[in-house]
């Protein structure tokens, strides 16, 4: 059963004085199945961020339907959107978005506290996640005391702790060095193997090459997609590179 269905998505931004209209998304349709690991690639301005914002219910589409677990996002009441987001979606951001006034532990607890969970339950949930992500020793530290990779792993823990239906990752490796990137991508694959559905938006071919399927967006439309099939990461990497080259050079179908 597909967990996420995106159908005929369109988003038009109107500039402040109502003059120019900018079409960020023209017509985007795709589905994500339970347990899939999907990467969405595209150049700057191709509409990636707009798409992610709409999926996260942070923004509303001009047209089209997004449904999560068969539930239409536009039908979720305004007052319930935050709770919906908290319960069903986990976020990993490029710039981590950790609160500097909290320890890593408290940062991870934040969504659960907002959901009104009890401390003992939170603690129980955190223990396995923290050891899996290798941050059990630094939970009491503050964000400014740890490295970027550690921060991002704490952010992943925060996304995982609510047992979300879907994890949305926005350029998760964008602010990391190559070692931390490798480590994070390994973790993502591992989490995915345990059944967690992940949707990742990225620039990085390397990041995308860890996914099970790669979607390419160009000019507000899904232009192409590649399934991993039986390829290794390296083979997928090559395929993605080729596709990107084709996209950039004369490979335009129109």
């Amino acid at each position: 059963m597909s967990i996420l269905e995106v159908n005929g998505l369109k988003k038009v931004y109107t500039t402040r004085f109502g003059g120019n209209k900018v079409e960020a998304l023209k017509n985007v349709s795709f589905t994500v199945e339970q347990g899939e690991y999907v990467a969405i690639m595209g150049e700057s301005g191709s509409g990636k961020t707009t798409l992610l914002n709409i999926l996260a219910a942070l923004d509303k589409p001009t047209n089209g339907i997004v449904s999560l677990d068969g539930r239409d996002l536009s039908k979720v009441k305004e007052s319930a959107v935050s709770a919906f987001r908290r319960d069903n979606l986990g976020f990993v951001f490029q710039d981590f978005n950790l609160l500097d006034t909290f320890t890593l532990e408290d940062n991870i607890y934040l969504p659960l506290v907002l959901a009104g969970k009890h401390y003992t339950e939170m603690k129980q949930r955190l223990t396995p996640i923290a050891s899996q992500l290798g941050i059990a020793d630094i939970l009491k530290k503050y964000p400014y005391e740890v490295s970027g990779g550690q921060k991002q792993r704490a952010a992943v823990a925060r996304a995982l702790i609510t047992n979300p239906r879907l994890i949305l990752a926005d350029e998760p490796t964008g602010a990391l060095d190559s070692r931390a990137t490798d480590e994070l991508l390994r973790l993502f694959s591992e989490i995915n193997r345990k059944g967690q559905t992940i949707l990742m938006v990225t620039h990085s071919v390397k990041a995308a090459s860890h996914a099970g399927r790669v979607l390419f967006i160009k000019d507000g439309e899904v232009f192409h997609q590649i399934y991993r099939g039986n390829s290794t990461n390296e083979q997928l990497y090559q395929k993605i590179s080729d596709t990107l080259t084709m996209l950039a050079t004369g490979g335009d179908r129109r």
Binding site: L52, D100, L110, Y142
Partner: protein, 688 residues
Amino acid sequence: MKHSFYPKLAWTGIRKNKRLYTPYILTCMGMVMMFYIMSFLTSSALLTSMPGGDIMQGMLGLGVRVIGVFALIFLFYTNSFLTRRRKKEFGLYNILGMGKRNLARVLMWESLIIAAISLGGGLVAGIVFSKFAELGMVNILRAEGSFVLTLEPKAIVQTLLLFAVIFFLILLNTLRQIHLSNPIELLHSENTGEKPPKANWFLALAGAIILGAAYYLAVSIENPIEAMVWFFVAVIMVIIATYLLFIAGSVAICRLLQRKKAYYYKTNHFVSVSSMVYRMKRNGAGLASICILCTMVLVMMSATVCLYVGTEDSLRTRYPRNINLDVSVTTLDRLEAEPVEKVRQLASQIAREHGQSLDNVLDYRVAAMVGYIDGGRIDVDQSSIYTFQLSAYTDVWQIFFVPLEDYNRLMGQNETLDPGEVLLYTTKSNYEEDSIALGDGEPMKVKKVVPDFADNGVDAMQMIPSMYIFVPDFNKTLQPITNVANWRGDPVIELHWFYGFDLDGSDEVQVQIQEELQESLRQLSISGGTSWGGDDFTVSCEGVAKERAGFYGMYGGLFFLGILLGVVFIFAAVLIMYYKQVSEGYEDQSRFGIMQKVGMTQKDIKRSINSQILTVFFLPLLTAGVHLAFAFPLIQKILVLFSLTDLNLLILVTVCCFLIFAFFYVLVYHITSKAYFAIVSGAKGEPA
């Protein structure tokens, strides 16, 4: 158009940062206005010409200096908020190729614009309101004033000069800051990470203990003189304790709360408590200052208002009757002889000539001495008084011996005493022993402590407590010491006859009677001097009508000063809060953005913000209220020294002051929280 480029840039800068500059400019205007008004009042010729006006102007002259210094400190402080916020903008200009020299020119224009607006607006407002202030003061002095608007060039020049210097200094300071920093720093100056504050348990505990001690001191002191001495000690202790508690104590409490997992990990507490730690670390000192400022304003306002409202009471205590005569003689027999009778006759004769009768006549003999009382014995020698320690101050008394018959007559009582027995009445303090001896004489038994006796001005003028001893046989009791001299050679005991009476005529008539009486008395003592034994007879004559203007000048001046300074300080306290909140709003913007992404609802955010602003805002006010409540017994005792004994009045005035203060406070709270919400929610629309 190179010439208009810099002014234009400066003007845009100010307009774009409206939220920061409007309050700043308003503050500047307010300060200019207040300073002008004060300065105007001190140099107003109209006031100088009024009775009591010169005293009042002397009081206000003090206020001018206070406001001048305060304006400098305060404007510097508020300007630092502005500079901090704008560093990023300057950094950008710098990177875009504007040299520091160009930046300086922009800043100079900005300062010029701000100075022009605030001086212009402030002076206009000042000139308008100075008229009201002047009328207010004229009213306090109980005179008539004209409604002609007057300018005081001297005051204008003084104001212009002072604020020109202040603005110049502020400009220099800003330039210095810009000059010392490099562009990258300028760009990033706002978001430098900071360490989580550590709780300093020792300081927090010290603060609590010192505060407790100060409170205990304030409540336990019984004696007005002790109150005067210890008041400043208590004030300093409270100031130290407030700083310690706000800086260390608040963080410690937050840390404690964080340790209680069941409390901490609740939606309502989680965000608030953890941000409060940082907030208190950054603002602890500021909030403590505000708290102390508030307390000072409240104490000052309630005391001065109370003094002013109670002026008539004080006058009555100081001058028990409209006209007060005090005949001083050297031997006991003189008290009943010719001079006394002559004075009585003169007074009623002069009053009759003005068609007045003598009412409420106060007529009694008294022997006065200053005594050091030790173990129920009045030390007649007096040498010990001049070597005593401050701590023994409470044992020094002003002692009055009054014949029992005079007591019975004046108070309408019918007390009887056996020889060796006395009645006692004390002011400001209590006498604990049950007998009292005069020098080496036999101890006299205190039969009863009576609740009241006629006021006399001496008690009102002194800080030390008074003791009235009513004796059955006046002459016999005092005979042994009438000729004793103290170590300086002056007689230990002074013999007086008090004669006072009320008149129902207007103040003018009373002054006239007093002057005629004084003249006749002067001639009496010249002509009768020899026949009565020369210089052993002096008489003084005081009238309340003549002194009233002076009293109103002083208490009214204090009152006016209290109100004006109170307004300025409230203004300051409230503005500091505003700037604190607004600048925090910018810092919190991103934080609340993140929380929203993680799933915090708009409602949660509002609730969390509300609880934080409420705490930050009302913690100082509440603490000030508690301080005031504990200071109350001390203030009350000190005001007793100013012959103000109306406890209900003091309570009423204090509560009113607090309420008025709280009202303004709440008003600003509303404005501030609105601005804060606007800033914080400004982040919500931005994409991830």
